[in-house]
Structure formats: C-alpha cells, structure tokens
C-alpha cells in the first residue's frame, strides 16, 4: 500500500481539523477546539483499484501565537492550504504560508476555500484573487460541516499523486 504524507496548513480556526474529522470519521462538531502542535490521522482510500493511505498532518493554525514551521513539511507528498470564506484575512495568511512552504517544498499544493455553507465575505473568483488560483495544483470550495467536496478533494489529490 502506498503511504502519502499530506500537511494541512492555514491560519487558525479556518477548519483544518474539521476537514480531517469529516474526511476520516465523517463527523462535524460546531464547537471550535483549537489544535495545539500537530496531530496525525490516517485514512486509506481506494482509487482505481489502488490503495493509498493518507497520513494527514493536521497542524496548529498560524497566527500571533504560533508561527509556521517549515520542518513539518519534510517528506510531504502534498499540502493543503485551508482558508475561510468568511474571513479575507485567512486567504492572505494562506498565501503567505504557501510562499513560505514553497521555499522548502515543490510538492503539489491544494487551495481549499472552506466554510462554503456560510455567507462569503470575499470570493476567489474576483479579478484580484483569481490570479492566485494558478499558484495551486488544485483548488476546491469545501464545507467541513456539510461535507461538500471534502471527499472529492482528497480523491482528486489521490488521483494527482498516483498519476504524477
């Protein structure tokens, strides 16, 4: 079985842990519980008769209280930058993290605009934001709450990693 390390990165409270929980356990909790340090979860999926085990490195969000640590990206097959569609600042912070991550890794990068069940305060399709989409290999609009696109995102990532 193929094992792939995937890092979930982003500002704090964008829903990284919720995405992992939705993907791994199929559940969502409304209560926000901040992640401290790193937590690794595993999930095996089958794609075109091939099994792939994702090692999901869910990392503490980056803000005043926690700076991004490049070393956690070592050996990553891909990373997912999670941003929150109710806070533009999370998008800018996500782009900053992406820039830092690119300095140490060339692995595929996914942008996921999470919380799409809530009213958006900014839009990735706006002219000024659109250009940033090209910085990523894949991009998704997800909701950890409803589960929309969560499975699809990981499947697409599996496909990209297996074909690549």
């Amino acid at each position: 079985m193929i094992q792939k390390k995937i890092c979930l990165l982003g500002a704090s409270s964008v829903g990284k842990t919720s995405l992992v929980k939705q993907f791994v356990e199929g559940i969502f909790s409304e209560k926000y519980l901040t992640t401290i340090g790193v937590k690794i979860d595993k999930k095996t999926i089958t794609f075109e008769n091939e099994q792939i085990q994702f090692m999901l490195w869910d990392m503490e969000g980056n803000d005043t209280y926690n700076v991004f640590q490049e070393r956690y990206l070592r050996g990553a097959a891909a990373y997912i930058i999670v941003v929150d569609q109710t806070r533009t600042s999370s998008f800018h912070e996500g782009l900053d993290i992406h820039t830092l991550a690119r300095q140490v890794s060339n692995c595929p990068a996914v942008l996921t605009v999470n919380k799409n069940d809530l009213p958006a305060t900014w839009n990735i399709e706006n002219n000024e934001n659109k250009v940033y989409k090209d910085l990523f290999d894949l991009h998704f609009s997800t909701s950890a709450k409803t589960g929309e696109n969560v499975e699809a995102m990981f499947l697409a990532l599996a496909k990209l990693l297996l074909k690549g």
Binding site: T34, T64, Y65
Partner: protein, 710 residues
C-alpha cells in the same frame, strides 16, 4: 538512587530512551514507566531494545533532526514541539520529545505533556476566540459605519433619511445610535434598547441608553472632552456597572458625521456587548492585562501601572504616541496591514526604550510609555529621539511595499504637570492631538501655553466657520507682469479675511488652522468659485488676464476637487485657459499619482499649472520632467539677496536655464527693486511679481490698474 531517579522521572511523566543506533532509530528503554508509555510503545518494555518506526510517524520524522544532533560531538538538546498521538486503544496522548547529546551519549526523552497541553489549549483557545470575535466585530462595524455615512451624507429629505436609517440600523446585531450633535435627540435600534435595559426602582425614570454611554465615557475616558471638542472618533472598551445586578463590558465605537464646515451634524455610536469574551479573557490573568494584537500591556494594565508610579512619588515622564493618518493607512492598505503595522511599531518602540520603562497599547493606534527614573526634559527628549529614530526606518507591507509613518508624541511630567492619572492622561492626549494631522513627527511637551494655544485654535476654528457662513472672506489679486510686454498678464488670487472685530486677518494666521480642521476644503472651494467669478468679470470687461489659484495639500488630496473645478468653470462660463492652479513642491512629491491625474485633467481642460515657492521644498527635480507643468515660481527668498549674494544669483540663473530647457516659463516672486528686476530681465526670466509693481489689491483696484495700463 536509581530507584529515586526512576520515581522522579515517573512523576514527571517521562521515559528515557538510550539511542543504540541513530541511523535505524533503534533505542533502549532505560528509565521511566507508565500506562501512557506502554500505550505509546506497545511493542517495547523496560530495558528492551526496539525501533521507532512509522507507527509513531511524528516521532519517526523527528528522528531526522535528532540524528543531526546525535552526530555532533558537542553536547546539545533539541525539542520536537507538542504533538498528539492516538494510541491503538484510541487514547490521545499529548507528547513532546527531546533529543539530547550529553557526553557522547545519545538520549531521547519522551514527556507526557498533558498538563502543559491543557494550559496551552485553554489559553490559546480563549485568545483565538477573542481574536476571531474582534475580527468579526470590526468587519461588521466598518460595514455599517460606511453605509450610515453614505446615507447621512446624501442630500435628502430629513424624514426620508430617518426612515432609511431606522431600517438599516434595525437589522444590526449590535446597539446602534444616531444622535444629533448635542445628543439630545437620537434614533436607536432594538438591540440598543435591549442592551441597556436595566432594572429601575418603582417610579424612577429609566436613563436614556445614549446617556448611559456618554456618562461611561465621561467617567472612564480622560480624553472625552478633547474628543467632543475636536470632533474626533474613538473606539475602545467601557465597563457598565449598574447596581444591583448589571455588569457589562461594552466595545464602543464613536464617530462624528461632519458637514462641509466640519461641524458635527450627527454622532454615530455602536455598542457591542463583549462581556462573554471579556469574561473568558479575565479567566486568564495574562490575557486580561494584555493587548491581544501586540501582546503589550493593555489600557487597564497601563492605568494600574500609572497609578502605582504615582503612588511611589518618583518623578517620571509620560509619553502618548499617536500614529498620524493611521485611518488613511488602514483604508489604503487594509485592516490586516494596519494590524501588522501596529505589531511592528510596538516592537520598535519596545526595543527603543529601556527595560525599566513601561510600554502599553492604550487605544486603536495609541501607545503610552512611562519613562521611569527620568526627571529632566533633556533626558526625556533623548529617549523620544531614540523612539523616533526607530520609527523613521521604513515599514513593509506583506507584499514588500515599503512605506513610512510619522507619529505625534504628547509628553507630560509627573509631578510638575499633573499629579493624578486622569489629568496626566488628559494632558498627554491633548499634547499628542496638537501634533496630529501633521505629516511629520512631532513632539509636544505639555504646558499651560500649549493648552491656551489649543483653546485659541478651537476659537479660531469656530470663527472660521462663522466667516464662511457670513461670507467674511475676500479675494485680493496680486498682478504678475510679463517682462517682454511689461504688462499685467496674470494675477495670483490671495484670500483675505475681514474679521468683524480684528479687521483684515492675514492668511498666514488662519490657513494653517483651516488646513488642520479640514475647513480648507470649503474655503478652497470658495476661492475657486470666486476666482471663476472674477475671471468672468474681467473677461466681460475685455481683459484676458489669467487668475492663478493656490491649492493646499488637503485640496489636492480631495477626490472631489476636479469635479468641483469643472462645475465652477461651467457654471460661471469661464474660459479654462484663463485659470491656473498653483501647487507647492511639497504637494507635488507627496502623492505623485494623485497630483499627476489632477494636473493632467486640469491641463486637458486648458488650465495651466505652476509650481509655487520653487526651491524651498524638496530638491528632487525628477518630478519636473514627469509632471504636466507650465510655470516655475522662484521663491522670494532667492530674489531678496539676488543683487548682493553670488549664490542666489547662481541659483536663480540655474533655475531659469533648467526651466527653459524643460519648456517651462519662470516667474520671480518678491521683486521689490529695479536692480532685482534688471538681473531677472538680463537672465531671461519670463514674468515678475512683487511689491515693486503692486501689493495684493482688491478686485476693483486691480481693474483700475488694468484700465490705466491701456
């Protein structure tokens, strides 16, 4: 001994692994035990050799870094950071590993960090919830503020406005008041009524919610009087205690709505109940006293410390630092960049002061510093100089654009200026305000004369408003003579104020006040309109004389200026080529793109542009090539000594030559003698202006002069 050591290690919830082979990650479990450890390494037991593998992926990954340490000969330690491991029986362990190299021994210590994890999670959870909720609050406030301002600034029927406003604010999730300038009447939303609902004793009238806020501000905010008097906005936290059972923390935003005369027409007030957030924060002593963004002590911590310093009766200086144009910075770069600036600034201030000094963030863009152990002004000035030097270095946005900021520093001394917290804060706030709107760094020590001057400014400002309403201004014209024809071909429009009691007031004494209060826009518009009227009048009399109007920095920055100019020209049916805009060098370099657009538009209409006081401002000449200009006006200071001073001669000659090379014409200002004129004629200057020909004169007298010239 070994047994005691083992007990200590167990009490610390640690296990110690001796690294047998760093390359394979083979270790021997040498000390420590516990259920958690067995859960973590079910394959191993005490004193057994085992290999750390991908079953514990975080630790396995950490071995890469640890191996580098273990390869070294030097002693050293490396921490992994916290991680959470889910064991086979689904228990979550919160762990940290420490790789140690000690006297050629390679050791790996694993610690169960459940206590530390809990503390960190509790603190960060609160901190992040607070950050999030303030972030959301800020966005909602900004949105509603902009919307209300756009409604209030629209010319419309009063009754219509009130209905629209009432509708808009009703849907807000927080308390909103829109009050008249004297706060006597206001509209408020349901959220406001429920936020300030209080138990009243039988028969007693409930206090109006807006009065509750105003009383809280008066009692808790030493800056209150200054905010009202200077029509400033404010945001911050207030605590409302109303016995027997009310204790609420409110985040209040207070904004003036100004009219063209910069009088307050209305006040917009937002109040958010942040008691829950505050309660969360107060459960954590550190967060309760700390500003979440900059991690400096907050206003409450500061006031307590200030009180302690006063009690100790040791002399100190209190500084109040206010960032000039911070609101504009926020609008231009965005709220996030504003936050970034505050964080960077707080770091720079902290590193510029001594460790015995005390720095706090006491308001949105305000910092306060207690300079302890300083009892003389000279030492205080040195300390301020260090702060200013640290701020003068460029700041950078996330996109690596560099920019500069300036600050206003208000200073007061304990015990000489004041002996109480409220008075000290009031004085430093007033001192800092006096430097506000100045784009340069200013330091203002508190003094009675400064207080009087500040009072005087408020009076002049009020008189200027009356002057606008009562039409007390008059436009004088100073002739400009074309050297070739020796005839008047242009006139500079200069404002005069016919004060009902003081008589004719010089612009030098009121324009700076107008500039500072924002009234310059209205006064500037009056000048433009009156210049157009005069131009029309002169044209009707058959004189093709250009009228040159001075534009102030604020006017140039005003986005409505060009539309106003265009409307005036159309309404007065003036030929644009008979109008000229005069701007100073400082204005030209201040905001290149804004100036360029304005001047290009003006020239496209047919107006000309001249640079006033040339030679006194910035020496960079690159803008002369880039900007659409027609005339340079050499400042009078160079003309004054032109006959005797060889340097001035050289400068004037050089300016004329350079201007002609750039196809610009030159006007010399302040020409008073025949000798000066001869020099200018000999050196091909194009036109002259000065007392030798005429002082600034009334329009009627100017027309008389023109008639005499015929």
């Amino acid at each position: 001994m070994t047994s005691l050591l083992n007990k200590v290690i167990n009490a610390l919830e640690q296990i110690i692994l001796e690294v047998i082979d760093p390359t394979t990650g083979t270790v021997r479990w040498v000390e420590g035990e516990g259920d958690w450890a067995k859960d973590l390494f079910p394959q191993a037991g005490n004193q057994q050799v085992f290999t750390i593998n991908e079953e514990t992926p975080f630790l396995f990954d950490f071995l890469y870094d640890a191996k580098l340490l273990w390869k070294e000969n030097e002693n050293g330690r490396l921490r992994s950071g916290l991680w959470t491991e889910t064991t086979l029986n689904n228990t979550e362990l919160h762990l940290e590993a420490i790789a140690i190299k000690q006297q050629q021994h390679n050791i790996l210590v694993i610690t169960n960090q459940r206590e530390d994890f809990k503390v960190q999670q509790k603190t960060k959870q609160v901190a992040r919830e607070v950050l999030l909720s303030y972030d959301r609050l800020f966005l909602k406030n900004e949105y509603l503020h902009t919307r209300l301002l756009s409604i209030l600034n629209q010319p419309s029927e009063q009754s219509h406005i009130l209905t629209t406003l009432a509708k808009v604010i009703e849907n807000a999730e927080f308390a909103v008041f829109i009050a008249s300038s004297d706060f006597n009447t206001n509209i408020e939303n349901t959220a406001a009524l429920s936020l300030f609902e209080e138990q009243t004793f039988h028969g007693s009238e409930p206090t109006r919610p807006i009065n509750i806020i105003l009383n809280l501000m008066k009692n808790q905010l030493p800056e209150y009087e200054r905010i009202i008097a200077t029509h400033s906005s404010w945001d911050g936290e207030l605590c409302w205690i109303s016995p027997p059972s009310t204790l609420k923390w409110l985040k209040v935003a207070f904004y003036p709505v100004l009219n063209k005369l910069h009088e307050v027409e209305n006040w917009i007030i937002f109040a958010n109940d942040i008691s829950t957030v505050k309660h969360l924060v107060q459960r954590n002593e550190k967060l309760a006293m700390q500003d979440m963004l900059t991690e400096l002590p907050n206003r409450y911590a500061f006031l307590q410390t200030l009180e302690k310093h006063i009690i100790s009766a040791q002399a100190f200086y209190l500084l109040y630092i206010d960032i000039n144009e911070f609101r504009r910075h926020n609008e231009f770069y965005g709220h996030e960049e504003g936050d970034k600036l505050l964080v960077e600034l707080s770091k720079r201030i902290s590193s510029a002061v001594k460790s015995t000094d005390y720095v706090a963030r006491v308001g949105g863009d305000e910092f306060a510093i207690i300079l302890a152990n300083i009892d003389n002004q000279a030492s205080c000035e040195l300390a301020i100089q260090r702060i200013i030097e640290s701020i003068n270095k460029p700041f950078h946005t996330k996109k690596a654009n560099s920019f500069h900021i300036s600050i206003s520093v208000g200073v007061a001394n304990y015990p000489n200026d004041a002996q109480g917290v409220d008075e000290l804060m009031k004085f430093v706030d007033l001192s800092a305000y006096n430097g506000k709107k100045n784009k340069k760094n200013t330091v203002q020590f508190y003094s009675q004369s400064m207080k009087d001057a500040s009072q005087h400014l408020i009076i002049v400002e009020q008189e200027l408003r009356q002057a606008i309403t009562n039409n007390e201004f008059e436009l004088y014209l100073q002739p400009i003579i074309d050297i070739k024809t020796n005839c008047i071909n242009k006139a500079e429009a200069l404002i005069r104020w016919n004060h009902p009691e003081k008589g004719l007031v010089s612009p030098d004494s009121f324009i700076p006040v107008a500039e500072r209060s924002g009234l310059i826009i209205t006064i500037g518009e009056w000048v433009i309109n009156r210049s157009c009227q005069i131009s029309k009048q002169l044209s009707k009399l058959g004189f093709d004389i250009k009228i040159s109007m001075n534009l102030s920095p604020s006017q140039v920055a005003d986005s409505n200026l060009f539309t106003y100019l265009k409307d005036c020209i159309q309404n007065n049916q003036v030929t644009p080529y008979l109008l000229e805009l005069e701007v100073t060098e400082d204005v030209l370099v201040d905001d290149y793109s804004v100036v360029e657009t304005l001047l290009s538009n003006a020239r496209a209409m047919g107006m000309s542009v001249s640079v006033d006081d040339f030679g006194t401002g910035y020496s960079s000449l690159s803008y002369l090539k880039k900007l659409p200009l027609d005339y340079l006006k050499i400042d009078r200071t160079f003309i004054k000594e032109i006959v005797a001073d060889d340097n001035d001669k050289a400068i004037v000659k050089a300016v004329i030559a350079m201007a002609h090379n750039l196809n610009l014409c030159v006007t010399a200002e302040g020409v008073e003698t025949q000798e000066q004129l001869s020099f200018l004629v000999d050196n091909a200057c194009n036109s002259v202006q000065g007392y030798m020909f005429s002082r600034p004169i009334s329009v009627n007298y100017f027309i008389k002069l023109l008639n005499e010239q015929l």
